[in-house]
Amino acid sequence: MRNVALLLACALGASCVEETEQSAPTPFTTKSVLTPALLKLESALEAMGSLGEPSLEDLELGQGLIDFLQTAPPGMGDAAFEDAQAQGNVLVPVYAQLLASPDASVADKAAAARLTAAIATPAAAQVLLEQLEQNTAPSVRATCAWKLGDMGFDFVIPSLIKRLKYEKDSSVTPWLGSSLAKLGNYAGVAYMVTVAGWGGPGSEAAAELYRVVTAAGFEDSSSLIQAWESGDPSAPFASQERSTRYQLKVWQLVQDLTDFQLRGVDDSRFILSKLAKQAVPLLTEALYDENSYVRFHVAQALGRMGPRARGAGATLVLGLKDNLLAPYAAEALGSIDYPLAMAALLEATEAGRDPGLRLAAVRGLAILADSASVPRLLELAKEDDFPELAQSAAEGLIYCGQGAAFAMRVLQVAQTATQTGLDADTSLNALSHWVDNRAGTGEPLALEIQEAYHALAPEPGIPPTREEDRARRQARIELLEAALPKLLVDGE
């Protein structure tokens, strides 16, 4: 009988289909974006071409300028740079060969790098980029990093950022950060702060950091980093225009996102997420690309960029309608401080939407940590038929400042995770966040719990065994079982 009713309902419902279709939201339409963008930019640029083999005469001239630079009296060295500049690209292959030679001295290589920079052409910058990546002498890499900023070509920015990821020598990193800053990108400042901390206040790294901070018009590095990460439109570095060659580099990085090997993809999403906000319109366009890897990774990169990517907010909201993009767009919306993000995320949590999207939207709301989402999170925390969603919602309530009411509930999730198949660690992380916040206000009991909790962390660099990991988790749960009720009473 139930089947008859269903068939009748279907027959009657058919007349409503047209109306439903009319009121359906506009689909998110993907198209070919990447390929036309690359073709357009490539055709607008002259290829750098190959450098060719240097002639004997050029080799002698190039070596002569190096010798002169190293022996010239103070103040006279500039003549060598002027001569190098006058020769233009002719000397580029000479210095490229010398910089790559295993027989040349480090001093000659450092001089060659400076003279290459003086040539001041894109081809010369390309040679320095290659040496920055490959040269084994830190002093040569440091010289390349330093001079690339002086040359003023913004297309080197992605390569400087990539080097931030891999550079291990603390004498090179400050110059990467400094050159990036000269080119209007402050992604390296946090790295400079770390290195300056190792060297102390009198170090070269600290001096260069000071120069970067003051040149940007800030009083300290923290304010500069905050302005950079927040995408502050009033910051002095916010509106620098980018060249065609830079835009081509950005699209090439987007193309790298389609590689099979994650090595290149990881590099690309790292670099894209550290670009300045001028890259956001290009990345926003890429969100529509027909290639699913492009859409997914670009959403990731925008999310990691944080509020600098605010300009992509409207497209990410539309992307919530794209089956593939939706969960990644939801998590990105949690991070970019877009004013309409919360409304879109709340809608994405509605029953009937894809479970992956609902969960990602709740995670996005937890990152947003806006108390306005509390009523909806309260409802979702009761969804017993979707325990993972209920868990994330309860954790989200803690991130939204409802720790006092939900700490015990989240602790219970962690306690029963082995039986329920849920991830105890996400719940423990939420509780740890709440305790840290309480400790941040100087509450003595919270400070005590915080210390005891973090003392149970595994020793850095030594992965625990599975048994140790279970024991560590259990110890943390027991610690919180004993301590949270007291902390809750204190809080009241």
């Binding site: 089947n3 008859v4 027959a11 890897y293 479970p355 993972e388 992965p463 065994t465 599975r466 990991d469």
Partner: protein
Amino acid sequence: MQKVLGGIVVLFALWFLVVLLGPSGAAEPARAWKSSAECADCHSEIYQEWQESQHSISWTNPLVRERSNDFANTDCIDCHAPRPVFVTGIGERVMPRSIQRNEGVDCLTCHQLPDHADGTPGGMAGGVRNADVPCRPEERRELVRPNFCAGCHNQHKTVDQWEASHFATGKDKEDCLDCHMPWVNPEDDATRHRSHTFPGGDQTHMLIRAVSLTGAAHEGNWYVTVSNIGAGHSFPTDERSRTADVFWRPLTDDEGAPWNHMHRIRSPYRDEVGVPDTLLLSGEDRKLPVTTEPEGKGQAIPSTDSIEVVLFYRRTPVWEDLAHPAQNRGAVEVARVVLKP
């Protein structure tokens, strides 16, 4: 009114035909599966096997948690909690999923088929087609092809290594499943199935089967040869963290006597500039001089001395105590050879 009644009669007739004549299983729409735990209802033995596997702990493994900073490095999620392979595309790079990450590389990762065009669940991929069971398996031979594993495992070139090996090209071809999903109860038609414990580098018997260590005197000095005799890919195959190290020491009765590090077999992290990739290729024999310093440096050890040589495997490249490899956490002795004059 007549038309309405006529319509109802036609609909009733259709319903009757469907109920009476249709296959019992096919009458129910395919279910949507949210969690691999649901598979245990019917496939408890296989589910139990999977729970013992590294795949089941790809999200919770403390080693991975430590390396990924509790997955704050979200790049790691792609392979450690992937979307179903049939959805992303066989041989294509995997993508991360949002739900049930705690289940790691689970049943659904390999078996769930994409939804049909009308949005109804697509059922499962399996070894046989059966429309009468809840998961509606379709026979999909792609499941047993090496390319099926490539989305994750060829990130470390494992499938490429296999394709270049005699395991792929020789007359007695063996592929991923032959070693890593061996048959369970092969003689019993009722219970025969592929093991879902996925034995690999986490199991000592697999390591012992993969490599051998032999030694011989040559021109008055000792040499040892490490051979990849049993792995259809490099040993170790994974890059970066997995490592195999060879040590030697004078032969004594003292089991606690210190060892000398001889050679490291490992692919470096991508930021380790100047560190060579020394993975032992499938079928490769690597002859190593026994010397006082690592990597063939220092003085050669004369074959008039009695020595012992040992090969250890670890899932982390950092040794806390190189002189006493057995005391390092997780170190597994794979092979040992005693060389006497």
